[in-house]
Amino acid sequence: HFPRDLKWQNSIITFRITNYTPDLEKEDVDQAVHNALNVWSKVTPLKFKKLREGDADIMISFGRKEHGDFNPFDGPEGLLAHAYPPGNGIGGDTHFDEDETWTKDSHAFNLFLVAAHEFGHALGMAHSSDPGALMYPVYSYSRGFPLSEDDIKGIQSLYGLNPDHRKVKPKPEAPNKCDPMLTIDAVTELRGETIIFKDSFYWRLHPQVVEPEQNLIKSTWPEIPGKVDAAYENPEKDVVIIFRGIKMWALNGYNVVEGYPKYIHKLGLPKSIRKIDAAVYIRDTGKTLLFTDEDYWSYNEQRGAMDSGYPRSIEVDFPGIGDEIDAAAYHYGYLYLYHDQVQFEYNYSAQKVIRIMRANSLLNC
């Protein structure tokens, strides 16, 4: 919250759109504003009333550079919008930078998402340091209901609950990389960096940078699912394959390869397989190991077909690691197999567990 927990004293708050951006149809702007206010009214007793003239609590406008409040915008990108906390006069007013490109999809800046964030300020919410929260100050694109538990807790401590608030499904909180109970969904290399997937987030770890960077999956790859089961990189083809359920996507750098998603059964897996737990490309053999429940399969990347003699038992062929894994990586003859909070360093040729570490030691914890 802002200092002194600034808030509106009434539960009916008025708003007025004073001008429109030419980037979108007028109806689309109205819809974005309506939906953005709805986000907050879903979880509080607040109601919003549209005014067509006169002074409203929340005056909404688009402007560029100096636009009348001595708090100028800065041209394209950088600063997108700002809003004033509840109060008289300029309090609650919300301004969008007209030098940005406003959209209703994942391109450039989605007006609904920015408006929902700014209306959070107009209602008394300050910035959150949770990268999964709508009130996080950096723009990221996401689909679905945009409020996280952190946002909901914040707004409800100002205005109370909406009796129907159980209907909304908040976004998960961003996972804490050094949580000793952290488990990993998937791990892959991507052009020399390591990408670690967990819930709707991923960490990007550069070999020369100590601190991993955390982002929402959807904000980087809006086309792939918000949660990943398994992933691997084939550096020879310069692609990363992402698995979720019975579908897979191919990424070339940060772009999704055309023709995807495809069904995992195209790889030669039987239809009974509905999910891949982990995948890893073994550079020395040109084979990709696909782990499903207690078994694993070997896919020959060059032939584009499954090797015969599979599936084989994980427990039998990888003694010492148990019978299931969550994620896998391969570096210089060693397999790194993740299960629950544990990471096994496994000598692939000697078939021996060399070290057991915490899963998040990968994230320098």
Partner: protein
């Protein structure tokens, strides 16, 4: 006037960012090296964004400063 170097550009970007979002006052920065006030504000920003707190303008910190964001200050007393 000499052309700005890459280092000067980074410092200018950081100064502008810290003034806007972390309430760093103008005129307190050293001409040639980063002042204590600026180090302190960088630390504040790094701590807010859960970056490694070094007080230095490392690549992660600069990359975050370049991202599109909301204009409301993060941690400053609201003015």
């Amino acid at each position: 006037k000499p052309l700005p170097t890459e280092e000067t550009d980074k410092r200018l970007l950081a100064e502008q960012y810290l003034k806007r979002y972390y309430g760093m006052q103008a005129g307190l920065q050293g001409k040639t090296k980063t002042s204590d006030v600026m180090h302190e504000k960088i630390r504040e920003m790094q701590s807010f964004f859960r970056l490694e707190v070094t007080g230095q303008l490392d690549d992660n910190t600069l990359e975050l400063m370049k991202k599109a964001r909301c204009g409301v200050p993060d941690a400053a007393e609201y003015n």
